[in-house]
């Protein structure tokens, strides 16, 4: 059984046992308890960091070292495994992911904010119904739509190859559509909390509705936009089932537009046959490091953005 499971079973027992084991010495008990809690925290931190470090080290090992023992130390620190991983397509997968993410994120935020704004601040017939329809979409599992979605995107490809299976734009539009429910839901409540006075003053000065949105409301909604933006970045970056279903080459000659996640998994499956484990570890490192660096630079924003988006 895995260590994390062992740990989980231990936790409730320990917590339940603590008050009994520690008679009324609450102020002095701090020291011992700190050791106790630090122990658990440190063990978990090691459990997170150790596998990651092990993967990075693996990129520098030789094939026989990796296939020999888990404990071998890399004999040489050359970067040729990284070059091999890159030439096997990791670089291309990265580029594909960035292209799709850039497009889908921009569109999600723009369209989501537009819809949420109108629904939150304008009275018109059908407002509640449209809002309800958007929110309802957040409850449905994506598996419900998978089969028709595949054929719909394939049919779009017959109209224009830029929209069909294995196309960037097709996947971007699908990402946007499936991110809209949560984005609209979150920004709807956010736009409602913004003061109306500034907006009304601008309207009296002859500002158009569109200008009021882009120049007044969007800047005021920035904190909300950042929260939901981070949520969408992680959500779309973590997406697996949609690219696996939709980014399939339909003919043999078509170029591979796999997302990073998908490409890496394929590389892992291939390496079982080709036996180039260092390149696989290097590929994982290439896929992990940039994200970790970005996260470490913005960790405060990421954590607070994600929690506020979730708690809404």
């Amino acid at each position: 059984m895995s260590t994390s499971i062992d740990d989980t079973t231990a936790v409730p027992v320990q917590r339940g046992a603590r008050p009994a084991g520690k008679p009324a010495r609450s102020s002095e008990g701090g020291g011992a308890l700190n050791v106790f809690s630090h122990g658990f925290l440190a063990v978990w931190a090691v459990m997170i960091l150790f596998p990651l470090a092990w993967v990075v080290l693996g990129a520098f090992k030789t094939d026989s070292q990796i296939n020999g023992s888990a404990w071998s130390w890399p004999s040489h620190f050359h970067f040729d495994a990284f070059t091999r991983a890159w030439s096997k397509g990791i670089g291309g997968f990265f580029a594909n992911t960035l292209i799709v993410l850039a497009g889908s994120l921009t569109l999600t935020m723009l369209l989501g904010a537009m819809a949420a704004y109108v629904l939150a601040r304008y009275e018109f017939k059908g407002n509640r119904l449209i809002y309800f329809l958007f929110v309802a979409g957040a409850m449905f599992p994506v598996y419900l739509a998978l089969v028709p979605l595949f054929f719909m995107v394939r049919n779009l490809g017959e109209i224009s190859p830029y929209l069909g299976l294995n196309s960037y734009l097709g996947l971007i539009l699908v990402y946007v559509a499936y991110s809209l429910p949560f984005t609209v839901f979150f920004l709807h409540s956010f736009f409602r909390t913004l003061p109306t006075a500034i907006h009304e003053a601008a309207m009296l000065d002859g500002c158009s509705h569109t200008r009021a949105f882009f120049q007044i409301m969007v800047p005021m909604a920035k904190p909300g936009l950042i929260s939901v933006g981070i949520f969408n970045v992680l959500g779309q970056w973590n997406q697996y089932i949609l690219p696996v279903t939709l980014m399939q080459p339909t003919t043999a000659g078509e170029s591979d537009h796999s997302m990073l996640a998908q490409g890496l998994v394929n590389l892992a499956l291939q390496s079982g046959y080709k036996s180039d484990a260092p390149a696989l570890f290097a590929g994982m490192t290439i896929a992990m490091l940039p994200v970790l660096v970005v996260y470490l630079s913005f960790q405060r924003q990421v954590q607070s953005g994600l929690t506020s988006a979730t708690l809404k």
Binding site: M1, S2, S4, I5, D7, T8, V11, R15, R18, P19, K22, S26, S27, G30, L33, N34, S37, W44, I48, W54, V55, I66, S69, A70, W71, L111, M114, A115, V118, L133, M139, F140, P141, Y143, L144, A145, V147, L149, F150, L173, A177, L180, M203, T210, L234, W237, Y240, I241, V244, L260, Q262, L264, V265, F281, M284, L292, Y295, Q299, T307, L311
Partner: protein, 310 residues
């Protein structure tokens, strides 16, 4: 807000609604229709077969097994993850009670929060590939390596983790817990920090012990957040597709050995893309939908409580 209001509303709503209805709502609706046919997916030909797909589903051993695995994940994952995350969050925020009687977290709380959150930013597929290497069945896997080093496992006879029918699902669960705890720890921390310190100080003056403080103050005030976490973890448990499909053995989309880690979603994908049974796969989609629906209704009912204002 008088002139130009309606053109503006229509202009702003048009694209989002077209995309949303076209790519989300319409496919959802179509699935219900297709689930009543014997459509293979490749040809245009389909016949209405009524509820045949559904009767077939509930006699399908593999699908029923998959349903059971989904239920197991749903029952275990949220409980385990929330317990660990709550424990860590409590330690990080109020656990480090110093001799002066102040209420504070242990040293290095910021460091732990950053590190525990790591798996959350790594894409789930990266985690899958990483853990596949960790769970390798020979001595070169990290787990077997550690266990052999500790002398717990015979080097000649390492544990078969993902190829062991009794272990495979627990291995997947382990990865889910490992990757999820950090996020819920941060979530609970944020909620704990919004609880006024004077409540803790008052409890401290009254001689409350740590356990009492946790169960009488922290947990009740945190209940709404725990409820949110529960719903999110249920979604995660329903969505273990990426891990199972890429880590476990089996013909297309994992699920092995011998269907012991099969989920409704992996079976759906196999029927759809490998077996060419689109209608049957749609019926599974509908079952997943109703399953999720019942789940959210039940969890909202069960966890409903008086809202505490502070």
């Amino acid at each position: 807000m008088r002139h130009g209001k309606y053109p503006f509303i229509v202009g702003f709503l048009f694209l989002p609604i077209v995309l949303y209805v076209g790519l989300v709502l319409w496919p959802y609706a179509q699935t219900f229709g297709y689930s009543l046919t014997d459509w293979s997916g490749q040809s245009q030909e389909m016949n209405f077969v009524g509820l045949d797909n559904y009767t077939k589903l509930f006699g399908d051993e593999v699908f029923l097994g998959a349903l059971g695995h989904n239920i197991l994940l749903l029952a275990v994952l949220p409980v385990v993850t929330i317990l660990i995350a709550l424990f860590f969050a409590f330690m990080l925020n109020v656990g480090g009670r110093s001799g002066t009687g102040g209420v504070q977290g242990v040293r290095g709380a910021a460091f732990y929060k950053v590190v525990f959150f790591f798996p959350q930013v790594l894409s789930i597929a990266i985690l899958a590939v990483l853990w596949q290497a960790v769970y390798r069945t020979d001595a070169s896997g990290l787990f077997n390596g550690v266990l052999i080093k500790l002398g717990l496992v015979d080097a000649q006879n390492p544990v078969a983790w993902l190829s062991d029918p009794n272990l495979v699902l627990w291995c997947i669960l382990g990865v889910l817990v490992w990757s999820g705890v950090g996020f819920y720890l941060v979530l609970f921390s944020a909620a704990m920090q919004s609880i006024p310190k004077d409540i803790y100080e008052a409890a401290l003056l009254d001689g409350a012990k740590r356990g009492q403080t946790f169960f009488r103050i922290t947990l009740p005030l945190l209940w709404e957040t725990v409820q949110t976490a529960w719903v999110y973890l249920a979604i995660v448990a329903m969505d273990a597709f990426a891990l199972v499909a890429s880590m476990t053995p089996g013909r297309t989309y994992g699920g092995g050995p011998d269907h012991h880690s099969e989920l409704m979603s992996t079976y759906l994908m196999r029927n759809f893309l490998a077996f060419g049974e689109a209608g049957y796969a749609c019926a599974m989609g509908v079952v997943i939908f109703f399953f999720t629906l019942i789940l959210s209704v039940v969890s909202l009912r069960v966890t409903r409580r008086e809202r505490i204002e502070y």
